[in-house]
Symmetry: C2
Subunit: 358 residues, 2 copies
DNA sequence: TGGCTATCTGAAAGCGCTTTCAAAAAACGC
DNA sequence: GCGTTTTTTGAAAGCGCTTTCAGATAGCCA
């Protein structure tokens, strides 16, 4: 790592840098300056800049020009204070680096942006206390709406949101009580299990990410167990593995599973990364896929179709979830009617990593 | 997709939902309410809530309790207006779904968060006009600092930032003029080229992402071309491929390259995804890696060590870049001295996808 | 041109917090 | 116990914008 001062000397003081302010950051020109320059009042400046009708063309232009000349940038805080709308929406996701959440955030933001809102995203790290802290942080910032993931939260969270009066929407899983956009995690995982059973598999294993405080992960395993039970089978404890996310986690998980006794003929993994890791480990052990082991993933990541063999996976329509959540929240903020529950079904994508057992 | 109304009827009106407000969203209790309840003035409330010294313990507690009881959440806009600090920092990245940028944003946010700042991230989509628009949007929101990626921007962007007087930092590439945290893209790519030449390769190809308005991608190709030239070799036009990002892009890119004439014995790819795609295509054509083709990627993505063979790649220390950029900006915001340029070297990670040519 | 209506415009009052400044209270010294 | 010093406290003045409301202008018709 190289750290270099400006002219080969010691670190430059911040004072030497352009655009550097110390105390009360004196931001640029304000509406009053524009008004003076255009020979009107601040009221008119406001009207022009907000596009409200009823300003004579000549004044309008004078204001526009003055604002342009001065490089005027309105002070968002003042505007927010005055209008009592921040034009910002918050989102707290378990892991901001997780592909599925990134895709949701991205499409969510797309919609917000179109409606003139800013997205402020925060990371909860699969910890309820952290989630509460981050959400509170956003509420203090004054967001006009809030997106959360899942149904399990800190007991105080909903009260705190309610006390600010802003709308929230839950994503990724469905809820009986709250507005939500998501899918039935148990049902979609069960669908995968049923598919595997239809192929003839009897010993099916699960490798999921951490399930603590994670209703999605938990629901998936429950869904699978129920689907098995419905056909008189069961999920053996040694075939029910919980690991941390990632390719490495998948390898470890499958290794653990093999250590537990007779291997399953098929596994369902919590993410495609986990599935990838499990496939690597399986191959290292000389197991053929799908001959000796069928593998199902979750998410339909970019690389899933390119694995060898291409991975059968449950595709979560992240972009649609993000769009729907964004539309929902904006409608609520704008006081329009909305539906409480939007289900966006996950879909089982069949590829070559699954086949009947030998 | 299922859209379900609350009780099997038509969509519920927003009015039926809890936490729903129409006109001037009347947010919860304000400082005045807390003051009244605690029997003090708003000045004291402010002092307590901001932890400033000089408030008697009993009053402090009364205020705390009142705030707690009321579920008071301070209005960030009012605070920002008053302190003239928004406690938010903006970042505009080319693609918010790109792994490298996500990692930088994540570590950047980590630092901001520790200092009490909020990250507001926006997406420029590799388009200069969009970048200007998003940056302006953030400036209007009142961010206290701004992080940008790369050295190529809309001609008006720097003027606009300067007119607000907030500090900015550029990441991923170095700059002669502006504060920056990054690395020398040309040099690190050249290092990969030299390594390949040291192995004995003479025909080296490049598959990069789109290079328009992307100084990093461009610099890398230039660095490679210069390294080749320094040893009397050259980058053949048919071995210089530009494609859109992604695994599919990598496959297409390598296919194009093969169509252009005699294949190179080694390629350097703009991302690991591209490298992955190229490897798939190479294998489909019966080329052995690294026997017939050595492959180098960029970024050291999660999956790079798990490819078959494990991918040699240029690791970009995204987390460090994000941390350094965050620290830099916070220091500037707080008026502390900073260094203008921080170089965080990319590193060539040797794995099994590279070997001497046959 | 005068009278009346329809448009425009600006003064002023907030929005909810921070912060200064002076007054009030507490602590101290003798 | 009284004057003085040190803490605490509250009143009030912003921060920069939006928005109401009433007054000023312009437009229209006879």
């Amino acid at each position: 790592m190289r750290i270099e001062a400006a002219q080969g000397g010691e670190p430059i003081s911040v004072l030497d840098l352009p655009g550097m302010i110390l105390e009360p950051p004196s931001r640029g020109p304000v509406a009053r300056d524009v008004a003076r320059r255009a020979g009107v009042s601040t009221a008119t400046v406001s009207r022009v800049l907000n596009g409200s009708a009823g300003v004579r063309a000549d004044k309008r232009e004078a204001v526009m020009r003055a604002a342009q000349d001065l490089g005027f940038v309105a002070n968002g805080a003042a505007r927010a204070l005055s209008t009592r709308r921040f034009m910002a929406v918050g989102a707290v996701v378990p892991n901001i680096e997780n592909e599925a959440f990134v895709r949701v955030l991205s499409s969510f933001q797309e919609r917000l942006r179109q409606a003139g809102y800013t997205l402020v995203a925060a990371n909860a790290g699969y910890d309820l206390d952290d989630e509460l802290r981050e959400a509170t942080f956003l509420l203090e910032r004054g967001v006009d709406g809030l997106m959360l993931v899942g149904d399990i939260h800190h007991p105080d969270l909903h009260a705190r949101i309610a006390s600010t009066g802003i709308p929230m929407v839950q994503t990724f899983s469905l809820s009986q009580q709250r507005p939500c956009v998501g899918f039935d995690n148990a049902a979609s995982a069960a669908r995968a299990a049923n598919y595997l059973m239809d192929l003839g598999h009897r010993r099916i294993g699960v490798i999921s990410g951490l399930r603590k405080d994670n209703d999605r992960g938990g629901a998936r395993v429950i869904g699978i167990a129920q689907a098995l039970a419905a056909r008189g089978l069961s999920l053996a404890p040694e075939h029910d593995i919980e690991i941390s996310y990632g390719i490495g986690g998948g390898r470890d998980g499958f290794r653990q599973m093999l250590a537990g006794g007779p291997p399953p003929t098929a596994i369902i993994c919590g993410t495609d990364q986990i599935a990838f890791g499990a496939m690597i480990e399986a191959r290292a052990r000389g197991l053929a896929i799908p001959g000796d082991l069928s593998v199902v993933g979750h998410n339909d990541s970019d690389f899933a179709p390119f694995l060898d063999p291409p991975l059968t996976t449950i595709r979560i329509h992240s972009a649609e979830i993000g769009h729907a959540a964004g539309d929902h929240l904006i409608a609520r903020i704008q006081g329009k009617p909305v539906v409480r529950l939007t289900e966006i079904d996950a879909e089982l994508i069949l590829r070559a990593s699954t086949a009947p057992p030998r």
